[in-house]
Amino acid sequence: MKKITILLFAFLAVLFSCEKNDIEGPNLNDLYGPLDILESFKIVGDSVDFENDEILYFTASFSKIVDWKIKIRGLTSGSIKIISGKSNYINLNNSSWEGSSTELPFFVSENCDVELSFEIHDDIFQDTLYISSAKDYNNESTVLITDFEAGFNPNFTGFFQAGCTKSLTTGGSGEGAKHLQQFGTCDWDWLIGYIDYYSNFWLNPNTLVSDPSQVYFNIMIKGDSTISIVDGVPNSLFKLEFYEDENNDGYYDASSEDRYDYEFDVNWNGWKMISINYNDVENLIAPPNNSGDGIRNPSQIYNVRTLLLANPNSGFAKADVDFLIWSIGGPILN
């Protein structure tokens, strides 16, 4: 009996000494605790030179894990970058910024307002920063078709319906100073107009890889989101056609080569970057008019045609374009 009692107390002593320090479930402090700023919000790398691949980041730490959002707004361009996360700290790993935009146009060399806010707390912290040189999106992993800064290349042929407009415009561009306006009303045909961007005349030669999953087509489109009175959907329809020259004869032959298409509604106002993975483009035209090898091969792209379409019964359509560029490895705004 005595031995049993000793054994019991020894066992209890071991049990009580094995206390766990962990907690069960999500941290209550993160859900209901007050938000205290332990380290104030700071910008590291002000006057950043994005053109030379410099980066900028922010630091702060909080008393709880919280949903935070940093909003950077260019005072000249109006461009916006949003960096967000859920953590009790902000540092290089979760807030680095290489100069890209979340909302177009692109940032330029300019002053920016910076604002840190939280999802369920009213606290807001503000600061300013300066961009000494803007990010250059055209680099070794991109192929620029055109940015219209040197004007509209007349070798990019096309067709616009009578009364519809295609014009190079300065000011209010998505990138740089110039962009191409496209708009009009056509009550007898779906086509407002199209432009062929032949690869021989791209600003960079076609050095795209053949793996379609690695290649993205990017285009800035400025929409006006006019809603069709006929079918209630946005009136402007945008279509992209990619023509492959599979036999490298400098010509697309519909009877023996592939064409891939991609179309979407322009249902927004202002500039937006559309990025399409070349794997997602579709072979819409049935043989014998589209009888190539059936393999998407970006390195063989001979022509990119952009088409602005609209229901002829529904009126005005508009989709300005700027900065047509291929990127390899991911969308241009990753």
Binding site: I4, N21, E24, P26, L31
Partner: protein, 571 residues
């Protein structure tokens, strides 16, 4: 078609039983239960004309049921038992509310006079940590005046003591060895917890065993094993649940100070629970330890218990709750102009059999901390460490007896914080036989109990918890004759304070907390008469008044009266 076949089978069984009885009288016998119940619920309260213009002012339901238990012994070693329910709900016409159902069917017997077995409906129980059907919330020390409700609820849900009613096969046998080991007792069973569901979860099976070895008259060691698992091949799924639990026991019986009997029990065990094939499911392993010292001093039973249950200890057979808070109460489930769903309250807990659960649950069922917080899953409640002291049958005088129970537990690890909840829970009950004081021939008994529970957690403002609940119950029985009595009783419940209600995902992991502030009071008053023909055969007619008020939502106050008549007879 199924019903027709069932009816034919039942008629055949009854005919067979009667004819067999005529031929071999000793081989067939009956038992069962007959119950007639009628209750009329009456919506009461102030300003009903404005507050509730949609609910009916009263609802009546009633039924008569006979559960006819038939037992056959076709041969001496075999007994076949069935229970057939004949039910007639009041208010039906041309038999449209009559039903005949098979309530239970089983066979049992002995092989070679050594090995007992049972097949069919089985009542199974093991350790409190492997397979145990814990009593419902707030049922401890309940005055006798409420016992007819409790018996009704338990009977309807097949709650026999702390056994779970399962379907399967069971066997047990024992060997006397008369050497180092005196006796070995072995019990094993397998059961089908859940059948296959079309496009649903796979079949859930359980098997378990118990081994007890008596080394001498003082020392006994034993072990329980139980495993609950899904059979993947019975469904179009790649995921299968499993939950094995193993426990080991050491029992020692002796005399303390050479006078008082002393029983010591140590039990420890481990569990594993997971979902094979589910990459998102955690595989958890948990343990528990329990020690109990029990003695009898001056006719009072003294029990001291210490237990620790790990946060990840999971045991489907011991952690399934009787009360299912996801169900809605039978009486006035919705009320008020806003058609508010009524929360399960104290009256429903004591009287509504339809809010109870008869199936083992693979995940922890929800509980309401105002009714049960210290040990909502019984002794197997995970994340608890603490002690319990109880003294029963304290004889103060010849006419007054007391029972005392106290518990103090804390969490092993905090929920959402390093601060841990502390649970203090105490209950006392007494039975005063007035007739013995004044030497009156008819019984006059006052039954009273008090229960209090306090959950506390300190820390920052958002971590702090302080919830106090109290239940004071009383019952008075005044015998008018030897068999006829006036009865009245009350239950006054209050819950004041704050708590965090826990939200768990399908894997029992806590995913969120909802703040809850309680300021609730409930009152049940009962009064009526009861007549006992003999033990378990009685008629009672009572009026109940029930009020539930949440002081945080005054407009949702609910009041109800109930006139209830019950005839009960155990055949």
């Amino acid at each position: 078609m199924k019903n027709i076949l069932l009816n034919i089978l039942i008629i055949f069984l009854i005919s067979y039983a009667l004819s067999t009885q005529a031929q071999i009288k000793s081989k067939v016998w009956y038992d069962g239960n007959a119950r007639v119940m009628y209750d009329r619920d009456i919506l009461t309260g102030d300003n009903l004309d404005q507050k509730d213009t949609v609910s009916t002012r009263s609802n009546g339901t009633g039924f008569s049921k006979i559960d006819l238990g038939l037992h056959f012994t076709p041969i001496n070693e075999i007994e076949i038992s069935s229970s057939i329910r004949l039910q007639n709900d009041f208010g039906g016409m041309w038999g449209n509310r009559n039903s005949v159902t098979l309530r239970s069917l089983s066979a049992s017997g002995v092989i070679n006079n050594k090995i007992r077995f049972g097949i069919g409906d089985l009542f199974l129980k093991q350790s409190k940590y492997t397979l145990y059907n814990y009593s419902q919330d707030l049922s401890h020390f309940e005055p006798d005046v409420f016992s007819f409700y409790r018996e009704y609820v338990n009977y309807e849900n097949y709650y026999k003591e702390n056994y779970w009613r399962l379907q399967g096969i069971q066997t047990n046998f024992s060997y006397n060895m008369y050497n180092i080991i005196e006796q070995i007792d072995i019990d094993a069973f397998t059961s089908r917890i859940r059948g296959a569901q079309w496009l649903g979860d796979p079949e859930l099976l359980m098997f378990g065993g118990t081994l007890f070895i008596r080394l001498n008259e003082k020392i006994k060691i034993g072990s329980h094993y139980i495993n609950t698992f899904e059979i993947k091949s019975t469904s179009n799924t790649d995921i299968a649940y499993f939950n094995p639990v193993f426990t080991a026991k050491f029992m020692y019986s002796d005399k303390f100070l050479d006078m008082y009997p002393l029983d010591i029990l140590f039990e420890g065990g481990v569990s594993k629970r997971g979902w094979e094939g589910d990459g998102f499911a955690p595989e958890t392993q948990g343990m528990f330890f329990n020690s109990t010292f029990q003695s009898k001093i001056n006719n009072s039973n003294l029990r001291l218990n210490f237990k620790l249950v790990d946060t990840d200890f999971r045991s489907i057979g011991a952690q399934t709750r009787r009360l299912n808070y996801s169900l809605v109460p039978s009486s006035y489930a919705y009320y008020g102009n806003s058609y508010t769903q009524r929360k399960i309250g104290l009256l429903d807990i004591i009287s509504d059999p339809d809010i109870y659960n008869q199936r083992l649950s693979t995940s922890l069922m929800d509980y309401n901390p105002i009714y049960s917080a210290t040990l909502p899953y019984g002794d197997a409640t995970p994340n608890r460490i603490g002690t319990e002291v109880s003294i029963e049958e304290i004889k103060i005088t010849g006419f007054l007896k007391l029972n005392i129970d106290a518990k103090y537990f804390t969490e092993l690890i905090g929920q959402g914080t390093t601060q841990k909840r502390n649970f203090l829970n105490g209950a006392i009950s007494s039975k005063l036989h007035i007739n013995k004081i004044f030497d009156i021939s008819v019984p006059i008994i006052i039954d009273a109990s008090a229960f209090a529970e306090n959950i506390k957690r300190s820390g920052s403002e958002f971590e702090r918890i302080n919830l106090k609940t109290n239940l004071i119950s009383s019952g008075i029985l005044v015998g008018l004759t030897d068999n006829l009595s006036l009865v009245c009783g009350s239950k006054l419940f209050s819950a004041v304070g704050n708590e965090y209600l826990i939200e768990r995902n399908t894997y029992d992991q806590i995913i969120d907390y909802n703040t809850a502030n309680f300021d609730i009071s409930e009152m049940i008053l009962v009064g009526g008469i009861q007549y006992y023909f003999e033990k378990d055969t009685y008629i009672t007619m009572q009026y109940n008044h029930f009020n539930m008020l949440d002081n945080n939502i005054l407009e949702d106050e609910f009041s109800m009266g109930r006139l209830v008549f019950m005839f009960n007879m155990n055949l």
